[in-house]
Symmetry: C2
Subunit: 295 residues, 2 copies
């Protein structure tokens, strides 16, 4: 791979996820803090109108607007669809010889700590992920099974980098500790890219644990589509912990437990994410994958 020529730090893809919004504003005040010698760093507030009013989106979820077919469809015209096309033209580099890397900043009401969602399993990304987890042992790695071509999320425009997802933090709230942790991880990613370009990237002998999304689970609902149960208190905030057959998942409004009836252990994430109620997602199941990586 050629040298990485550009890193894009994106905040405010969702306008009510303030960590990224305020980090981008901070970087814009002090661009030297994200500058390195071998590549250009650009910042972007992806959904400025949504940031302005502190809402996730105006018309539709921007982070579901990046399917190739939608980007090429002139008939789609919501604010976010148009904005996605603009972002695509500004950021996309897939067809150039000069690779660029994305850091898309998100937060979640789920207790996911620091999570790096890999844009792809490109060797550089695995090398980066291995280094990040060596520096931040509590950082979790997540991969999606969706083919990048069909994926609607911003990071799918890139092979390198990914999404930094931090929580638990409510929508519309800044958590100082998560803000600082996110900023540190960004700095480490920038240092890694610089080191890669200089041929001095640290090689970490490591076996990586990558959580692989397998499917989304909805709340129990009635015929009118209304939810009938809440996340069970025993599962609340237990993102990335093992959910075994027979463990409680939901609690109905009348106090009855709904158990996990699958046959194998899974590791739920995005448990009780506020923005996912409308998407019909109570949590996402993942499998734990060990990826051997090293020199």
């Amino acid at each position: 791979m050629n040298q990485i020529k550009r890193v894009a730090i994106v905040g405010g893809t969702h306008g009510n996820e303030l960590t990224g919004v305020y980090l981008v504003k901070k970087f814009d005040r002090a661009p030297e803090s994200i500058g390195r010698s071998t590549f250009e760093t650009i910042t972007m507030l992806a959904n400025p109108q949504a940031c302005e009013i502190g809402r996730r989106y105006i018309d539709i979820d921007l982070n579901r607007c990046f399917r190739q077919q939608d980007l090429e469809n002139p008939d789609i015209s919501s604010y976010e669809a148009q904005r996605a096309k603009e972002i695509y033209h500004i950021l996309s580099s897939k067809n150039t010889e000069e690779p660029s890397l994305i850091i898309d900043l998100h937060s979640t009401t789920s207790n996911m700590g620091l999570t790096f969602i890999l844009a792809s399993q490109h060797p550089f990304n695995l090398q980066l992920a291995a280094y990040l987890t060596s520096v931040y042992p509590h950082l979790k790695l997540l991969a999606s099974t969706t083919n990048a071509q069909d994926s609607p999320v911003l990071r799918s425009l890139f092979e390198l980098g990914g999404t930094l997802e931090v929580g638990a933090v409510p929508q519309g709230v800044l958590d100082a500790s998560l803000f600082q942790q996110t900023e540190q991880v960004i700095g480490t990613i920038l240092d890694c890219v610089e080191a890669y370009n200089l041929g001095t990237m640290p090689v970490v002998n490591n076996s990586l644990t990558i959580y692989q999304s397998i499917r989304a689970i909805d709340y129990p609902r009635n015929e009118q589509g209304e939810i009938q149960a809440m996340i069970h208190p025993q599962l609340q905030s237990k993102d990335y912990e093992a959910l075994n057959p027979g463990d409680p998942m939901f609690l109905t409004f009348d106090g009855e437990s709904v158990l996990y009836e699958g046959k194998s252990t899974v590791y739920p994430i995005f448990i009780n994410e506020a923005a996912y109620y409308e998407k019909g997602i109570a949590m996402c199941f993942t499998q734990k994958q060990i990826v051997s990586y090293g020199s």
Copy 2:
């Protein structure tokens, strides 16, 4: 005081505070659970349009629309102002001989646990509060210094009852444990009203601790009004704990601590409430008052 003739349980005054919304829906499915022999219990979703789209409000904050002068002003016509007038006509009983009581259900992103905000310090309310804290020792009592006549909040239409404020829970999220705790407290209030009407209300010898709101504190802001600092990690989630002169309050985006420079100990609440960023409130200071109460 005459017997209490009606209890109004109100949810969804803010459409993204789901605890109250789903409790009201539950009570409507099983009205017998909130029925008692000596009074009528009614339920209400105060802001149905905001509940429908899961947002705090449509035009303006409904819970700031109940000033007497606004209720009587025919020129105010936002959705919430109109809704406030409707609610006033349905619920208000101040000028009748038949007292009624309100339980207005709210949630907060602040770590306030279970809080009962008293509509007034009417002797019945103190008796109720004393009983509630004897059953739920972790329940906090809060009083506002605002004169009821000038107060814009729904509970100010009533002398009896108040607001149940529970947290920390993000906007748009149901927390099963807080849902059940809120439901229990409501049941206990209903039982208390029934006992009062029957002349069997338990008398609790008690000295009540009531937190008294004294003032709201804004975030440090620049000349453009943008916030310059976050709640300090050492203060985050420390609602109702003592803040002493010299203690850290805020952390700037550059990592500098901003200290509390007041001269006396205060007890902050509503620390980092999402809905208060736009109101210019980072937290509210309270004083701890001991109110002797008993037979």
